[in-house]
């Protein structure tokens, strides 16, 4: 960290490098990326076994789903409440790699395994659930004890001001990314989304997943009360999975816009090259 501090002729100076991501962060990031991909794809396979979602304690074929994916009259559809969308080719009715028409909800390219197997989907899902839970627990502990939470993720008092948050939203919308020293730190939207994923979304995924376990319902019936029943937990689990997909898409977009090589290198080696400072009017140094 120290080596880059020495003053060199400004014209020739490469942008200073900072050690931005410590090993546990990098390790967890990639384990988690792979785990969430497996969880999503095997989860879609499990969904295919009964592509209908309900609210409440029970829900089966004779009950009213709030979301369903299916096939009728040679068309695939996604139905949410009273709205029906034609999804032929993608959801409910699609063609597999061999040209055969299939009527499972999610297509083979999106599921693990690619052909229907609830047993195999559950195997992948329930094994990687352990990877997710153990790695998340260790990472949360390290985040709290190792100072990551206090130093990097903690939202400071001035950052909570609506003006500051609004400014950050505008900066993101205009794709105006921080430069120099400011780029070494997380901005407020980054902090909130990382805290949201690590401490809210992922724990809720695990809790709603456990609420679907009949063994856990006996051991911890309060989980059912918390989420309003097993079928509600299944619905929330599904919705939150797509919230994680949304986070992933925004995350990837931001990496690409902010400089994919630099960002990727910092998540692999830890070292981040600070983008050069471009003084802007009306901004404090």
């Amino acid at each position: 960290m120290e080596e880059d501090q020495s003053p060199v002729a400004p014209a020739a100076a490469p942008p200073p490098r900072v050690y931005r991501h410590r090993l546990p962060t990098r390790l967890w990031h990639w384990i988690n990326a792979a785990t969430l991909l497996v969880m999503l794809m095997s989860g879609l396979m499990i969904f295919n076994a009964h592509p209908r979602l309900y609210w409440g304690q029970y829900g089966a074929n004779y009950d009213q789903p709030w979301l369903s994916i299916g096939s009728k009259a040679n068309r695939g559809y996604l139905r949410i409440a009273a709205v029906e969308i034609d999804t032929t080719g993608v959801l409910g009715r699609w063609t597999d790699a061999n040209g055969a028409t299939k009527t499972w909800a999610f297509p083979g390219w999106a599921t693990i395994p690619t052909s229907y197997s609830l047993a195999d989907g559950r195997r992948w899902h329930l094994f990687f659930a352990w990877v997710l839970a153990i790695s998340l627990t260790l990472y949360m502990l390290w985040t709290a004890i190792g100072g990551h939470l206090r130093k990097d993720l903690h939202v400071r008092r001035p950052e909570w001001s609506p003006g500051h948050i609004w400014q950050d939203i505008k900066d993101h919308a205009r794709l105006r990314f921080p430069t120099g020293e400011a780029a070494a730190r997380y901005n407020i939207l980054q902090k909130l989304s990382y805290i949201g994923v690590i401490f809210v979304l992922l724990p809720l995924m695990i809790a709603t997943g456990l609420t679907m376990s009949p063994g856990m319902n006996a051991a911890a019936p309060w989980l059912l009360d918390l989420f309003g029943g097993r079928q509600s937990a299944r619905s929330i689990h599904f919705i939150l999975a797509w919230a994680l997909v949304a986070f992933f898409l925004v995350h990837i977009a931001m990496v690409l816009l902010a400089g994919p090589v630099n960002e990727l290198r910092s998540m692999l080696t830890g070292w981040f090259r600070l983008p050069a400072d471009k003084p802007r009017v009306g901004e404090n140094a």
Partner: protein
Amino acid sequence: MTGLILPRRELIVRAGGMAAALPLLAACDRVNEAPAVRKILSMGEEMNRASQRALTDRDALAPEYGRADLSPVFRANGTRLPEGADYPAHAANGFADWRVRVSGLVARPLSLSLADLRAMPQRRQITRHDCVEGWSAIAEWMGPQLRQVLAAAGVRDAARYIVFHCADRIGGAAYYESCDMVDALHPQTILAWALNGSVLPIANGAPLRLRIERQLGYKHAKYLTGIEAVASLEKVGAGKGGFWEDRIDYEWYAGI
């Protein structure tokens, strides 16, 4: 290595060959079919069983619901009418000659009629049935506790599992299931002959089905003909402890 390949895998590899445009998908399926991968993934099931047994109360009751929570229609799944001539004949005379044999590692093998089972103390419970596919339905069940039947037969200490033999056959093979002694002796594990206050319908497993409330639906064996106490599951069926466990690798421990 080729000696280890399952016939099923060959099929998938061939299908993958045709999908040359999507080599990644074929690669994914080869990973899924690799015996070593399947062995590692199956550790998840063992971890689920071990952790639920170790960390949770072994006698904890599955949630029981009120009459207002009953599913309007209780969905039937799996076999809806057992094949062959025997079963319809039993149904025609109201299952009067139906017998459930209690055998294996017991001091007193039994052959119980429905009247014998109905003469025992009954447990009535409104519980949620959770299918492995993801749906749930709530219904009221009634019947004697399995532990009373096992006590009457005098289960020996060597017994570690209870196997449930069924009258329905799927693709020519008899359905069966099994559980460990924790679930066999659990207060909510009953031999149900009534559903929602009426005699159990044929589609739901008449005249007798297992309710094993802390596990998924495929464990709830229907059309019960035999209860067998065993020390090991190795010699039962193909050795994995259940019809679907033997055929498509459903987990034997279905508490999750």
